[in-house]
């Protein structure tokens, strides 16, 4: 069976990519790895369960959401804006990291991972959560439940959940505007 290629363009981490000639059935994670050399997104289960492959989709209305790149076709992203784990830290002209994102920094401080395979998905999920809380802050007494709900689908095999949780809670509690005053 012949593979049909189609031109594909999108914005990844703020940069315009393409048009590239890409097979129409290619999954996004393979596109990221093989066509644009962004290898930070992890292929875990390959069937949308573990969330190691999660990237961030930026919607035109300013909202952001998690998207599983292992089960979403690359061409789904035609004309769309996406962020991957490589897009969080600030880089200098040489491509060196000069400043981590707040989530990344807190993950480091809390030593929130062991093998690190699922970390890209967790960082992206936590980032989406923080962005959502900027738009819709929650009451202080809902913080724990909100974090649990946001990260619950992500699987970590090194039992790092508690440290992820603590890092995200640290960010949420110490970033102005994410939490409403306690009741």
């Amino acid at each position: 069976m012949s593979i049909a290629n189609k031109p594909l363009s999108m914005t990844i981490n703020g940069k315009a990519v393409g048009p590239l000639n890409v097979p129409d059935g290619l999954m996004m994670i393979d596109f990221l790895h093989e066509y644009v050399a962004l290898t930070g997104s992890r292929l875990g289960c390959g069937q949308g369960v573990c969330r190691a492959c999660v990237a961030i989709l930026d919607n035109p209305d300013g909202t952001s959401e998690e998207i599983r790149t292992c089960i979403t076709g690359a061409h789904f992203f035609q004309g769309k804006k996406v962020r991957t784990i490589e897009g969080h830290a600030k880089l200098n002209e040489k491509g060196e990291v000069v400043e981590l994102s707040q989530i990344q920094q807190k993950f480091l401080e809390h030593y929130s991972f062991q093998c690190g395979y699922c970390t890209p998905g967790f960082v992206n999920a936590a980032t989406v959560l923080v962005e959502k809380l900027k738009r819709q802050p929650v009451d202080k007494d809902q913080v724990e439940e909100t974090i649990t709900e946001a990260l619950n689908d992500h699987i970590c095999r090194c039992t790092g959940y508690v440290r992820y949780y603590e890092a995200v809670k640290d960010v949420v509690m110490n970033t102005p505007g994410l939490v409403k005053g306690s009741k």
């Binding site: 059935g25 069937q47 949308g48 369960v49 599983r68 979403t72 076709g73």
Partner: protein, 412 residues
């Protein structure tokens, strides 16, 4: 709309007067209560599974067995399964075997008439031996002090005396067959699927007063959001079913034609997986008949190329990752779309609803599983949903690409 159904009730009232109210009178002296044997209790347990009593009488997520509380949404309001444990205050602890028989056979409990949500319309055909075994089993389960919930029915359906007329009009001694057969297996299957399994209650369409449309047995009904498909021999064969595949489906919840979802998912778990192979063969034999029609080969249907291509693009973008590029599915992950019973259904309702709402992760007997299917209600608009459904129907369902955006909108 109360006026029209109410008119039916009035007709029923007149009918009742003409008939001289004869249907009420039926009283038999209670049989001497012989102690139940272990064998009878065991048989009753098997029958309770075959009749899927737990579906309505055991609340999900840790409800005490047979203590009731399961909500049943009907066009007439909400009803709740009742406590059928031997608790004397809330359950059936004070019932005799005769009382129990009358509840199943006539829909009449000692204290009230039952609404036909309790499928006595089907259970009516149960043998007295079997209702006695069921009674023995329920009297052996742990009594649960769980109060029954009040029904939430709209007027005039909240008036139980209306059931008298409903029964006169609609309660029949036997239900019509959709298949033909004479074999012992077919006969046994008829009893299992009709009297016990009460398949007709969901799979036969219903009229305005909730009565089974007995002119169209097992041709499919839409009581719930996921409709119950046509399970006549012709309907099943048209979607590629064979008796053997049906048997596999009843035993495991998964067949080449797809996996159980919607209301059928608990049926597999609570009922059919526990039945003997002989009984499952019998049910499949009954549903498809002694001479089952050959499964219809899958054909591709011509459709507008641009629309089909648009649907294919959508499929590749958001479905193929799990269901496979060629719709082949992945074992214990997703069902195949190619030749899928829901895709092959002429009525696109379930295909659209499943795509809009998604399906929760499923566990099946023998460690089978299907992972969670996300809903696409917020991802795809009506037009895209229709294009996707049409691509599936024409390519892998042998159905016309006739789903409209309006049809999708109506199901949101």
């Amino acid at each position: 709309m109360i006026a029209k159904p109410f008119r039916f009730v009035l007709i029923g009232l007149v009918t009742a007067i003409l008939a001289g109210c004869g249907a009420e009178a039926s009283s038999t002296a209670d049989k001497a209560a012989a102690p139940a044997s272990a064998e009878q209790v065991a048989r009753g347990k098997y029958l309770a599974r075959a009749a899927d009593c737990a579906a309505c009488h055991t609340a999900e997520d840790g409800g005490a067995p047979f203590a009731g509380g399961v909500a049943l949404e009907t066009p007439f309001g909400k009803l709740f399964g009742t406590n059928i444990t031997p608790d004397k205050d809330h359950g059936i602890g004070n019932w005799s075997a005769d009382d129990f028989y009358k509840a199943l056979h006539d829909g009449v409990a000692p204290d009230k008439r039952l609404y036909p949500a309790m499928p006595y319309t089907s259970y009516r055909s149960l043998s007295r031996d079997d209702t006695d075994a069921l009674y023995a089993y329920f009297m052996s389960v742990k009594p649960a002090k769980v109060a029954n919930k009040e029904d939430e029915l709209h007027f005039p359906f909240n008036l139980r005396f209306g059931i008298v007329f409903w029964n006169m009009l609609f309660l029949k001694d036997s239900l019509p067959d959709a298949s033909t057969g004479q074999s012992a297996s077919w006969q046994r299957g008829r009893y299992l699927a009709g009297a016990l399994g009460h398949c007709a209650e969901c799979h036969t369409p219903r009229g305005k007063l909730g009565q089974l449309d007995l002119d169209k047995p097992l041709t499919g009904g839409v009581l719930a959001r996921i409709g119950a498909p046509d399970i006549t021999p012709a309907g099943l064969a048209a979607r590629g079913w064979t008796p053997k595949d049906l048997e596999t489906f009843f035993a495991t919840g998964v067949a080449p034609q797809g996996s159980a979802y919607g209301e059928m998912y608990p049926v597999i778990h609570l009922s059919s997986q526990h039945l003997s192979k002989t009984d499952l063969t019998a049910m499949a034999t009954y549903l498809m008949g002694d001479k089952p029609p050959a499964p219809a080969p899958l054909k591709t249907v011509a459709a507008d190329a641009a629309e089909l291509n648009a649907g294919r693009q959508l499929y590749t973008a958001v479905c193929a990752g799990c269901h496979g590029r060629e719709g082949e599915g992945k074992p214990n992950v997703t069902v195949a779309m190619k030749g899928n019973s829901t895709v092959r259904n002429a009525d696109p309702r379930n295909l659209i609803v499943a795509t809009l709402d998604g399906i929760k992760e499923q566990r099946f007997p023998n460690n089978g599983a299907m992972q969670e299917m996300p809903g696409f209600a917020n991802k795809l608009n009506d037009k895209e949903m229709a294009q996707l459904a049409n691509f599936l129907r024409a390519s892998w369902g042998g159905q016309a690409a006739d789903v409209t955006a309006d049809a999708v909108k109506a199901l949101r």
